[in-house]
């Protein structure tokens, strides 16, 4: 399969006619037919339905068309990016974003970085943790925001860009919701905990487990949610408590949910900027610096409140 097949297929799918597509492509119709036939053979299924008087896409063809368009677009972007870079006009940093966790961090970093590097494009992509780790190794992204418990591969550099105290989020009717000041972490041992299933929030379970181990007990995980938002929903509905970084509680605050800091010396939740030793964009370093700077000032009013007197 070559880009030619994709170009031809897209043309036919757009024109819904071999003849007209051939015209637009400046080739004759028979070679076009043959290329499409070859493509269908390689895929192994019919992509087009030839009715008299026209062509229609099969279900398979519809999906293939989408992928073909994306592939062609990426190929064109690659050329464009290379030309731009050769002219020294812009660079590019691609950041793999870790869901809503970085909602508080990214905006500030982006704003600061745009000021110091106006010609550098920062492209934020939403992907799962495992996808980020794979993409880092491939060089598809320059930078990922990962938790410390992530299975980071060899050849990577990391820098902590954000630390956030661990809090317990719970229904406002919960027995632990009443008191003031930090909770005695040993109280948690008896609590069934809610969690986010690993499919979407990979690593949450490991992180929560490691926090409990550090306190000194094995967690009892009661009920899983599919997304961070539905986890909050479960808490609000009174199903139980969950461990969370304080910064997450800032972003999504919902009536019926209360969060209190944990006492003792619990290691804070930590977000690591992670990038490859070799082959990364030269703009990774300044961007990481911007992240680290953004991880400190404004939104840190709560995030910084580790085990300091602010909490007490």
């Amino acid at each position: 399969m070559e880009l030619r097949h994709l170009r031809y297929f897209v043309a036919v799918a757009d024109a819904l006619s071999f003849r007209r597509a051939a015209e637009r492509l400046h080739v004759a119709q028979p070679p076009l037919s043959r290329q499409i036939r070859d493509l269908e053979e390689e895929v192994g299924h019919a992509l087009l339905e030839r009715d008299r008087g026209g062509v229609r896409l099969t279900d398979a063809g519809r999906l293939f068309l989408r992928g073909a368009r994306r592939s062609l677009e990426e190929a064109g972007n690659a050329v464009q990016a290379a030309r731009d870079a050769a002219r020294g006009r812009i660079g590019e940093v691609v950041v793999g974003n870790i869901g809503t966790l970085s909602l508080t961090l990214l905006p500030g970093a982006l704003a600061a970085f745009r000021k110091s590097h106006p010609h550098v494009e920062v492209d934020v992509r939403e992907m799962t943790r495992d996808a980020m780790i794979a993409a880092l190794a491939e060089g598809t992204i320059d930078l990922a925001l990962l938790t410390r418990t992530s299975p980071i591969r060899a050849g990577m550099q990391t820098q902590s860009v954000l630390q956030s105290a661990v809090v317990l989020a719970m229904p406002s009717t919960h027995r632990l919701a009443r008191g003031r000041g930090p909770i005695d972490p040993r109280e948690l041992a008896a609590e069934p905990l809610l969690y986010v299933r690993p499919q979407f929030a990979q690593g949450y379970l490991e992180w929560a487990t490691s926090v409990c181990r550090h306190i000194g007990f094995a967690p009892r995980f009661a009920r899983g949610a599919d997304t961070r938002e539905s986890l909050i929903g479960l808490i609000a509905a009174g199903y139980g408590c969950a461990l969370a970084p304080a910064m997450l509680a800032v972003g999504v605050r919902v009536p019926g949910v209360v969060s209190r800091a944990l006492g003792g010396s619990i290691p804070p939740f930590e977000l690591l900027a992670t990038w490859a030793d070799r082959g990364a964009s030269r703009y990774v370093d300044p961007f990481v610096a911007a992240l680290a700077a953004a991880g400190r000032p404004a939104p840190a009013k709560i995030a910084r409140a580790k085990r300091s007197k602010v909490d007490r």
Copy 2:
């Protein structure tokens, strides 16, 4: 340029050696060299630096490599998707997501849809409004969540999936922050308003303007922010007020920011599911139904509160 060029280039970039790359590709080294040379000619710039004893990527090559990988991956995905579809195993719905606005809406809809259609993959992509509109026309995405003021092209169907009352978000020290109940909207005429610049949140400005026009005055926009988050930051810092859908205020609630509903008969903020008449996935209809259902129950406690007595 063909996929072959991309495959070859990726192989060389991975091996950092023409010989070894040629081995892995099962071709001889000279043809490989020629293909790479042709590719560099087409791009117009050197992608590789040939040093004695090895190969290094140029800056242009680094960026090209990334695009090449993506293009190849999309091409592979296209084939895979077509095969899956032909077996009737799964369908696919791609949703263009409108930033944080749909944070409250999507999780519920996704959960419900997964229950009724477990074999259908829903792929959520983060993109700007204009990118969504273009992608809809191209068939790259099946569905977009757009505001009513968006310039939707012909051949599209829409369905309202969420309505949310308009609130005024302001610093807690603001004169309008004190009273109770809905604000008299005419009070706003004197207020300088903050806004999100059109680059990131395309359409916000039009929407806010149309709300003011409906009330009966021309808005005075004072200061722009780059992201929704930094807008909230500006408000918290006391720079002024901003109009917002109530649902947005639910997601991001920050100390120092207060929001109050607007009185009178202001049309609510509305989110439209938008899809192409023809060529869309067959699963669009049930997914839109799931969205509409999710737009009603739980998070609607505030969102539903249009101009009903709940506000008064």
